[in-house]
Amino acid sequence: MKLSDDQIRFIDTYLKNSGIKYLDVRYEMTDHIATALEAVDGNFDENFRQYMLEHKQELLASNRQFGKLAGKNAVRLILRNLAAPRFLVLSIIFFCLLYFLTQIFTAEIITEICGGTQLLAMAAFIFHYKYSRGSRNMKFSIIDKVFGIVAVSIYCVVLFVRPDNWLDNQILMVYHAVFSAFFIEILFTFRQLTQKYKLQYGS
C-alpha cells in the first residue's frame, strides 16, 4: 500500500523531532521507513508505532555515526582546499596588495580596514547561510559542519589569539593576507558543496 504525502511528511517530521536534523540523512531514512511500511498491510499509525519501537535506536545510532562522518568529511574537504595551490596564490595576491597599500597608507589604517572588511564579510556570510536555510531551517550535513568548524576557528582566533595586539606590522600583513585567502577559500568550499547538494537533491 503506497503511503500518502501526509504520511511521508509525518515520518519526516517525526524524525526531525527525534533529533535527525540533517536533510540528507532524513530523506534517506524517510524513504527507508516508508518502503518498509509499504511492504506490510494494516493500519499506518499502528505499523509506524511498531516500526519505531523496533528500529528507533538503530536509526538514531546511524544518525550519530552520520554526524561524526560528516564532521570528518568537512575537515578533510577544508584541508584539501587549503592544500591546493589556489590558497597559496590567493595569499600571495593579498599580501602583494596589502604591501602596495602600505606604500600609501600607514599600517594602522590598513589593519583597521582589513579588520572592518573581514568583519563585514563574515557577517554577510553568516546572514547568507542562515537565510539560505529558509524558514524551515533546512540543513545539509557537510555544509553545516564546515560552517560550524569555520565559525569556531575564526571565533577562537579573533577572541583568544587576537593577533592585532601582539604581531608586528609586517607579520600582521601576512596574517591578514592569509586570513583573507582562507575566507575566500571557505566561500569556494561552500559553493562547491552547494552545487553538489543542488545536483543531488535539486533546488
Binding site: K2, D31, H32, L59, A61, Q65, Q200
Partner: protein
C-alpha cells in the same frame, strides 16, 4: 562499533564482512538503495542474515566518503530515494576484498579440515 548493530547468526564470524557484502551486491546489481540491500541480503540468506539500519547506513556513508560509491538521488513516488553505485575505485576495492575473503575462506577450510583429520573426525 557499528558491527554491534549488525545482527546475524554467529556474528563474530562475520565481523568485517559487511562492507564486502555491500560492495559485492552493488557489483552484481549496478545500483541499489538502502532498504533494497537489506532485503536482498535477507532473501539470499533466506533470512539468516539481517543487516540493520544502524549498520548499513554508516557503512554506505563511509564507502561514499572514501570515494568507493557514488550517489544518485531520484524522486520515487512522493519522496526522494538515494541510490548507490560503485565507482571505479569501488570496483577495484571490491575485487581486492573478494580475493581477500576467498583466501580467508580457503585458509579456514584448510585449517578446519586438517584439525578434523588430526582429531579423527
Amino acid at each position: 562499533m557499528f558491527l554491534y548493530y549488525f545482527i546475524m547468526k554467529n556474528s563474530p564470524l562475520y565481523k568485517g564482512s559487511l562492507i564486502t557484502i555491500i560492495m559485492k551486491l552493488l557489483e552484481e546489481n549496478g545500483r541499489m538503495y538502502g532498504y533494497e540491500i537489506t532485503q536482498k541480503v535477507k532473501l539470499i540468506t533466506t533470512g539468516e542474515l539481517n543487516i540493520t539500519e544502524g549498520a548499513l547506513y554508516p557503512a554506505l556513508h563511509k564507502l561514499e566518503a572514501d570515494g568507493h560509491l557514488e550517489v544518485e538521488v531520484e524522486k520515487v513516488d512522493n519522496r526522494l530515494r538515494k541510490y548507490y553505485r560503485l565507482t571505479e575505485s569501488g570496483r577495484k576495492e571490491t575485487i581486492s576484498r573478494l580475493a581477500e575473503l576467498e583466501e580467508f575462506i580457503k585458509n579456514m577450510q584448510n585449517l578446519v579440515g586438517s584439525t578434523n583429520l588430526k582429531l579423527g573426525y
